[in-house]
C-alpha cells in the first residue's frame, strides 16, 4: 500500500542553525504512527512544516501521492490534515459548536444555521460517546472533553491525517482510555494518526509504528512491536547500552554525615506532580531525571515557592514548609535558574550588570540607592570568574549569546551565596563549548560547598555531574540511584519501566 504521507529529506534552518537535516516521516493509511524524540530533536518543526506553519528549506512532502506545500494551517486543514496541539488550541470562551464548526459553517439564507451546526457538533461528539451541551463555552468542560472537541473539529473537516501533539499530557487515566478508543475508532474509518508522546506505555498501547528523531534527523523507523522500551529510550537519547564509562570527574560526592539542605517527601501539586520525594545534602549535586512531562520542573517550581503546593512535606535547612513565594525562598537561601531563559530568566532590555544583580540588588543599596561601586566590583568579579563574554557590563543582555546569557543568570544566583541552587535545564539551547564550561563551573562550585539540584534531559550531563539521581516518571519518584549505580542505562531503565516492584501498587 502506498503511504498516505511521505516526507523525505526535509531540511530546515532557523537563523543559520539547522533544526532538521534530511528528516523523513512516512505514514500509511489507517495507521497510528508514533513520533518521538527529545526536546530539540525536531519533532515539532517537522510537524509545523507538514501543517504549513513553517516553510521547508529542502526536501519533498507527498500527501496522498501528490506533492504539497501548504502556506498556512488553514490550507493544510482544507487538504485533510488536522492538528491537535499540546496546549489545546481552542477558543475557550466560545461554544463547543463554534469551536467545532468555525471555518465550514452551515448557512441558511446566507446566515448561520445554528440548529444544524449544534446538531452536527452533537453528532460528531456522540461518536466518542460524549453527550454534552454543545452551546456552552468550551472552557466550562474538563480538559479531556476539550481534547475531544479538538478531535471532533479535525474529523468534521474530513481529516485523513490527524496529528496529535502530546494529547495526553493533561489527561487522567480514564480520559486517556477514552482518547485511545477514539484513536482506534479513527483508525477503523481509515484515518491516520501521528501520535507524539513521551509516555512509553501509551505508545505501546495505541501505536502501530514508530519514528524516532534525534538532533534533527530521523534515526529509526520500525513497527512498535519490534522496538523494545529500552531500545526506544536509548535510540532517542543517542546512547549505546555498552557505553557506561564513568569517570570520576563527577563533583561533590555525598559527604558522609553532611546534613540535608532540602528534604522533599510525597510532594504533590496540580496534575503533573503526584508523589515526588528527593533530598539534597550539603555540597552535593543531585540530578532530577525523567522524560518530558514527568513533573521535574513542576516540582522544582513548587519548592522555590513559584507555584502552590498541593500536599507532602518540604523541609528547607531544617525549617518546615515550602516557601510561600520566590522572595521567601530566596531569603531561605535558594536560587532557581528557570528552563525558559527568555520567558522567565532574562530581562531583555536591561544590561548585563542589571540582570546579574537583579536578585542581589536589595543588599547592594543604602537607603534605596544602589551602591554603584560595590555593584561594579561584584559584576566585574563574576564576569571574570564565569568568563562571561560581553562588550561591557552595560551591554543589553539580549545581545549576548545563549551561553553567556545563561552564565549571567547563574551569576545572578551565585552572587547571593545560596545554600541550594536549582538548575532547570541549565544547558538548553547553548552551544557545546559553553555547555562544558557551565557544567565545570557547577562542579567547581559544589566542591566549594554549594548544593545543586539539577534537572536535565541530557543524561550524559546528569551522569557526569550528579552524585545521586532521582528518577521521576508520571509525577512520581520511581528510583533513587546513588554512587556507582548512577549510570545511563540505569537511569534509562528507570525512565522506561519504573521500579519493577513498586509500580503495581500505584496502578
Amino acid at each position: 500500500m502506498s503511504p498516505l504521507l511521505s516526507m523525505r529529506g526535509i531540511d530546515k534552518r532557523f537563523a543559520g542553525t539547522p533544526a532538521l537535516t534530511g528528516a523523513s516521516l512516512e505514514v500509511a493509511p489507517g495507521e497510528v504512527h508514533a513520533l518521538i524524540g527529545q526536546n530539540g530533536a525536531g519533532k515539532s518543526t517537522l510537524i509545523k512544516i507538514l501543517t504549513g506553519y513553517h516553510a521547508k528549506d529542502a526536501g519533498e512532502v507527498l500527501f496522498n501521492g501528490r506533492p504539497i506545500a501548504f502556506a498556512s494551517p488553514g490550507e493544510a486543514q482544507r487538504a485533510g490534515i488536522s492538528t491537535i496541539y499540546q496546549e489545546i488550541n481552542l477558543v475557550p470562551y466560545r461554544s463547543v459548536t463554534e469551536n467545532i464548526c468555525l471555518g465550514r459553517e452551515t448557512r441558511r439564507f446566507g446566515l448561520l444555521d445554528w440548529r444544524a451546526m449544534h446538531e452536527e457538533a452533537r453528532a460528531l461528539l456522540a461518536r466518542f460517546g460524549i453527550a454534552i451541551d454543545v452551546r456552552r463555552p468550551v472552557m466550562t468542560y474538563p480538559t479531556a472533553v476539550q481534547q475531544m472537541v479538538a478531535i471532533g473539529r479535525a474529523i468534521g473537516f474530513k481529516a485523513r491525517l490527524v496529528v496529535m501533539d502530546e494529547p495526553t499530557s493533561s489527561l487522567d487515566e480514564r480520559e486517556v482510555a477514552v482518547l485511545f478508543d477514539v484513536i482506534r475508532g479513527l483508525k477503523e474509518t481509515g484515518v491516520s494518526v501521528i501520535f507524539v508522546s513521551h509516555k512509553l506505555d501509551e505508545l505501546y498501547a495505541v501505536c502501530d509504528r514508530v519514528t524516532i528523531m534525534r538532533d534533527g534527523r530521523t534515526v529509526r523507523v520500525g513497527a512498535m512491536g519490534e522496538v523494545s522500551r529500552l531500545d526506544l529510550v536509548t535510540t532517542m537519547l543517542g546512547r549505546e547500552l555498552e557505553r557506561t564509562l564513568h569517570d570520576d570527574a563527577r563533583g561533590g560526592p555525598a559527604r558522609a554525615g553532611a546534613g540535608a539542605v532540602i528534604e522533599v517527601r510525597g510532594l504533590s501539586a496540580g496534575p503533573r506532580v503526584r508523589d515526588v520525594s528527593f533530598d539534597v545534602r550539603e555540597g552535593e549535586i543531585v540530578g532530577l531525571a525523567g522524560l518530558l512531562g514527568a513533573g521535574r520542573t513542576e516540582s522544582a517550581r513548587v519548592v522555590f515557592g513559584a507555584d502552590p503546593m498541593g500536599g507532602g512535606t518540604v523541609r528547607l535547612s531544617g525549617r518546615d514548609g515550602a516557601p510561600a513565594s520566590p522572595a521567601d525562598a530566596i531569603r531561605a537561601g535558594l536560587g532557581f535558574v528557570s528552563e525558559d531563559r527568555k520567558l522567565e530568566g532574562i530581562v531583555p532590555g536591561l544590561s548585563v550588570r542589571e540582570n546579574l544583580t537583579l536578585a542581589l540588588m536589595p543588599q547592594l543599596t543604602r537607603a534605596g540607592v544602589v551602591d554603584e561601586g560595590r555593584t561594579r566590583a561584584i559584576v566585574d568579579r563574576f564576569i571574570e570568574r564565569l568568563r562571561i563574554k560581553c562588550a561591557s557590563p552595560e551591554q543589553p543582555i539580549r545581545e549576548l549569546s545563549g551561553g553567556n546569557q545563561q552564565k549571567v543568570l547563574l551569576a545572578r544566583w551565585l552572587c547571593m551565596n545560596p545554600r541550594l541552587l536549582i538548575l532547570d535545564e541549565p544547558t538548553r539551547g547553548i552551544d557545546v563549548g559553553a555547555k562544558a564550561e557551565i557544567l565545570n563551573l557547577v562542579r567547581g562550585l559544589s566542591r566549594e560547598g554549594l548544593s545543586v539540584l539539577m534537572i536535565s534531559s541530557e543524561l550524559e550531563e546528569v551522569v557526569e555531574a550528579a552524585a545521586r539521581v532521582f528518577v521521576l516518571r508520571d509525577g512520581r519518584t520511581v528510583a533513587e540511584l546513588d554512587g556507582d549505580a548512577v549510570t545511563e542505562p540505569a537511569i534509562m531503565a528507570a525512565m522506561a519501566h519504573g521500579p519493577e516492584s513498586a509500580e503495581a501498587g500505584h496502578g
Binding site: 494551517p73 482544507r78 468555525l102 521567601d328
Partner: protein
C-alpha cells in the same frame, strides 16, 4: 485555564446589566411622574442614539481584544463633513459622514495590522489626526447645516412617531446583532479576541477580522457624527471629547470582556441606556426638589458603576492577587 465559575460570569455579566437597567427603569417609573412619558422616553432615545452607535463599534473592537480611542474625534469629523455636504441633500450628507468615518477606520486598520502598532497608540494618533482634519475642514468653528435639504431630519425628525436617530441606532443594533450571531464574520471576531493564535491555527482569517472591526467602528462613529450634526444643526469639530471612554465604559458595563472573546450587542445597548439613564434620573431627582444633586454626579455614579462591574468581573473570573 478554566476559571471556577465561567458560566456564572457569563450569565451575570450578560444579564446583570439588563436586570440593572430594568431595575433603574422601575425605580424611575415608581418615583417620578412622566418618567415613562412619551416625551422623556423619546428624548432619552434621541439623545443617546449617537452614543449607542459609537459604543456598538467599540464593542466589536473590544471583542477582538483591541481598543479604538479615535471614535470621538471621528464622530466630530463626520459631523463636519456631513454639515459641509448637507446643502447637497440628505443623502450626500449622510454618505459623506459615513465615508469620513470609514477613512479613519481604514487608517486604523492599516496601522494596526500592517505596521503592527498597538491599537492603543495607533488609535490615539488617529484621534489627534481626525480632530485636526475636522478643525481644518471646519475652519475652527462649528459649521451650520443646511435647513433646506431635509438633512436635519436625520437628527430631529420623527418616523412613525419615533425619532429618526433612534431608528438608525435600532437598525444598526439589529444588523449588528445579526452580524455577530449569525455570520461567520461575527464568530471570527469573537474567536480572534478569545485566542488569536488558535484562530489562526484553525485557518480562520484573523487579520481580516481585526482590520474589519476598525472599519466598522469608524463607519459607525461617522454615522454618529451625521446624527450629531443633524441634531444640533451644526457640524461640531470640537465635540466628541471623551466619547471613546464613555463608549468603553458602556461596553464594559455591558459585560464585554476587555480582553476580548466575549461580548453581546444587546448588552452593549443596555449598557449605553444604563449610563444614559443615570443622567436622566439625576435630572428627575433634582426636579423633585427634595435634594439637589448637580448633573456632575452623573460621572461619579458612572465611574462607580464601572468600578463595580470590573471588580465583579475580576472576582468571578477568579483572578487573584499576584503573589508577593
Amino acid at each position: 485555564m478554566p476559571s471556577p465559575a465561567p458560566q456564572t460570569v457569563r450569565r451575570l455579566s450578560r444579564h446583570g446589566v439588563v436586570i440593572a437597567l430594568l431595575a433603574l427603569i422601575l425605580f424611575g417609573y415608581l418615583r417620578y411622574d412622566n418618567f415613562l412619558g412619551t416625551f422623556n422616553v423619546l428624548s432619552v432615545l434621541r439623545y443617546n442614539a449617537m452614543f449607542a452607535l459609537v459604543s456598538l463599534g467599540m464593542a466589536y473592537v473590544i471583542m477582538t481584544g483591541g481598543i479604538d480611542l479615535s471614535v470621538g474625534s471621528t464622530a466630530a469629523l463626520g459631523s463636519v463633513v456631513a454639515a459641509l455636504l448637507s446643502p447637497y441633500g440628505l443623502v450626500p450628507g449622510l454618505l459623506g459622514g459615513l465615508a469620513a468615518g470609514l477613512a479613519v477606520g481604514a487608517v486604523n486598520a492599516l496601522v494596526i495590522t500592517r505596521l503592527n502598532i498597538l491599537p492603543f497608540v495607533a488609535t490615539l494618533a488617529t484621534m489627534l489626526a481626525a480632530s485636526g482634519c475636522a478643525l481644518l475642514l471646519a475652519g475652527n468653528q462649528s459649521v451650520s447645516v443646511s435647513y433646506e435639504t431635509g438633512f436635519i431630519e436625520l437628527g430631529q425628525g420623527d418616523l412613525l412617531g419615533f425619532p429618526v436617530p433612534a431608528w438608525i441606532a435600532l437598525a444598526a443594533f439589529l444588523a449588528g446583532a445579526i452580524a455577530l450571531n449569525l455570520t461567520a464574520w461575527g464568530r471570527t471576531v469573537l474567536a480572534v479576541g478569545g485566542n488569536e493564535e488558535a484562530t489562526r491555527l484553525m485557518g480562520l482569517p484573523a487579520d481580516r477580522a481585526k482590520a474589519s472591526v476598525y472599519l466598522v467602528s469608524g463607519a459607525l462613529a461617522g454615522l454618529a457624527g451625521v446624527i450629531l450634526a443633524a441634531q444640533f444643526g451644526a457640524g461640531q469639530p470640537i465635540e466628541g471629547v471623551g466619547w471613546e471612554l464613555f463608549a468603553i465604559a458602556a461596553v464594559v458595563v455591558g459585560g464585554t470582556l476587555l480582553t476580548g472573546g466575549v461580548g453581546s450587542v444587546g448588552s452593549t445597548l443596555a449598557g449605553v441606556l444604563l449610563l444614559g439613564l443615570i443622567f436622566n434620573i439625576l435630572n428627575f431627582e433634582n426636579g423633585l426638589g427634595q435634594i439637589s444633586l448637580s448633573a456632575y454626579w452623573q460621572s461619579v455614579v458612572r465611574g462607580a458603576f464601572l468600578l463595580l462591574v470590573v471588580v465583579i468581573q475580576a472576582r468571578l473570573a477568579g483572578r487573584t492577587e499576584e503573589p508577593a
